[in-house]
Symmetry: C2
Subunit: 408 residues, 2 copies
């Protein structure tokens, strides 16, 4: 038997069925009219944001990284809860526009921004996190052509990475941002260009669970911001300290110690160097805000025994949950938290693998886990489905199409 | 410098620019109006099918596995070239219907067929490759309800796998098909049920380059088909021997020796056991027919140097070419064949990485390859993009959306 990841706090059963948003998932399946579906809990997101606000220094603003989950109702919900949004493409710009997100609170990072994306962002008053000198030149040209003062920040490629992070975004040659040593010159050029100078974006990694590592990285980002500001001689209005707060996906994973991160950051804010006294700071989180708020629900279509092993074949799969299948940037496949949603408080009785409906051995949602005995018609739940699920999976693979998504 | 995979035969330059379908790719980009785009060469597919037909025994039918590339114009092209189509979902059924594929030449395999998919297939006269006794019972119930004689075959989970294949689909406990020892009983039940008995589907693996291994596996499939037919006592009208023919993606990969596979199969066909004398055989290929016929074209949006390394940032990425980025069922990332399409016959001058526009370090199309010096505006080509590209990638990731596809 292989262990399953830890089910996030906040999920319980009603009449033996997994509940979300105060109702059993069977209710939501009926409302949706079909499986598979993604259910996102508004309460879970609210609690998570409240926990963060309580732990972090009051002056730290909170941004949402839209890429984690661009579902429009979720963005609308977020509008009242976070201070800003970060987008990663012109497509995401249209999505936030459609969700009535105030565009002056939006920033745009991404290494391959096309001219038309730069133009749309400049016209909308969005802050561009510039990824290179070349992009800066293109943005200034476009701004002049369209007659708008662009809001420009620099994404810095830091000389450090976030230890233990799932994805390292700094600490060497990267396609992201501008190498730190070239930043002061670029800041002076932007300040002279007539653009509105917005500051730095420093993102060193993502999906870290080690609070000490996150706190150390924030400290390094502050030191780097101070050094670059002193070197450039241009005041720093804003600084995005990045994100990196991970969530537990796998057996043995422990949640981030928020109190430690908050305390360490408060200590640093209390002793900021003069160069950062007037700087407004934010962090930018995606997965941490919404990942554990989402549950993916699929229905068992077949129960098979092959060479003594039980397979619960569902109508879902990697086309909706690529990362859970272990096929997205993972070297060794491990099980996400999962359960038989319609037998949620029943004890584990057998070893079974939950698989998807695709004709490929890659399509596994849970491998050799311990589950109550389930049969055709039962619903399965894969947790931690609120981030990098629906939008980060190949929905059209094998002609399947997207799952229904609901904020509940 | 890291090696690049081998560029498939059949690609040349016109005026220094990579050509496909007799025209430089710049022509097709202009026609498409945008990058990125997938270009599929009809001539390449025709040549591949002709090579296969020439090498394989005449009585072997050729099926196309739609999952490899369901682009409608490509399916229409295939209609005149192959003898049958295999689909993997109700969605693919609608796609082949839309492409005017004759539905009586279609079979449907897939471990999680929903009732509504079974019903649509039965009504359309499609052959169902049954994956379990439970699915057989559901199919018979549905057929009775709708008053149609169902065409039923059994997908056999063979007791062997395809050696050296990229994905093993047999040789142990699998969610696919029915374990061989249970097949004879099931055949007798289906024969008695009033269904039209169509035969076996035996698929042991995919993406193998070793002709000996493919030939051995075909031999094992024939032996298994004979044994199961003799055990069941029911004549075998048809047998799908699976696919497994791979294409070279990576440095050092060598194409399948088609002549060897064809000769070995012809020898076996000349000495078939009595139980298979009247059986019609086919193979089912997807990637092998179309993979090398496709090229993914993206435009360089930025040329960056970070810590001395060159990054060519494109407007494409893993959202269209997940497998090429090394994030789809791959343990160690290696480079697909790629080139600077607009400097196709220029010599390599520098080491550069071709990356996508997504804000993730996973988004690499070519890592530290040797390329002519390229700049903003140049087009890059990633080869072997004709199969499991557009439809097997998370097109909506980071709000990007799908690429244009063209058959040329």
């Amino acid at each position: 038997m292989k262990p399953l990841g830890p089910i996030p706090v906040g999920y319980d059963a009603i009449d033996g069925v997994l509940a979300i948003g105060g109702r059993p998932v069977t209710h939501w399946v009926e409302q949706a009219g079909d499986t598979p579906l993604f259910l996102y809990s508004a309460d879970h997101v609210r609690r998570r944001v409240a926990e963060l606000r309580a732990a972090m220094p009051e002056q730290l603003a909170l941004h949402y990284a839209v890429k984690a989950n661009p579902f429009p109702s979720l963005l609308s919900l977020m509008t009242d809860m976070v201070d800003g949004f970060d987008i990663a493409s012109g497509g995401e710009l249209e999505i936030v526009r459609g969700a009535d997100v105030p565009l002056d609170r939006v920033s745009f990072a991404g290494p391959g921004k096309r001219d038309r994306e730069l133009e749309a962002a400049i016209r909308a008053g969005i802050t561009l996190n510039l990824e290179s000198e070349g992009e800066a030149a293109r943005a200034l040209d476009i701004a002049e052509r369209v007659g708008v003062t662009p809001r420009l920040a620099i994404r810095v490629n830091p000389d450090f990475d976030l230890k233990g992070s799932g994805m390292k975004m700094g600490g060497g040659a990267k396609p992201f941002g501008v190498d730190a040593e070239r930043v002061p010159t670029m800041v002076r050029q932007l300040a002279k260009s007539g653009a509105e100078w917005r500051g730095f974006h420093i993102f060193a990694g993502s999906q870290a669970l080690d609070a000490e590592a996150i706190a150390d990285t924030q400290g390094q980002a502050l030191s780097l911001a101070a050094r670059l500001t002193e070197d450039s001689g241009v005041p720093l209005p804003r600084c995005n300290l990045g994100g990196g707060f991970g969530i537990p996906y796998f057996p043995g994973d422990i949640p981030v110690d928020l109190a430690l991160v908050g305390q360490r950051l408060a200590d640093r804010f209390a002793h900021l160097p003069d160069s950062l006294r007037d700087t407004a700071f934010c962090i930018e989180l995606g997965r941490y805000l919404v990942g554990e708020a989402g549950v993916y629900i699929a229905r068992i279509v077949d129960r098979k025994v092959s060479h003594g092993e039980v397979f619960l074949v569902t109508d879902g799969g990697l086309h909706h949950q690529l990362a859970a299948s272990g096929n997205f940037g993972t070297v060794v496949r491990r099980n996400y938290p999962s359960a038989i949603a319609t037998r949620y408080d029943a004890p584990a009785e057998e070893e079974a693998s939950i698989v998807g409906c695709l004709c490929t051995p890659l399509d596994k949602l849970a491998e050799k886990g311990g589950f109550p005995r389930a049969d055709v018609g039962d619903l399965v739940a894969v947790f931690c489905a609120g981030a990098y699920g629906a939008s980060a999976s190949p929905a059209m693979f094998l002609g399947q199409g997207p799952a229904v998504e609901m904020l509940v």
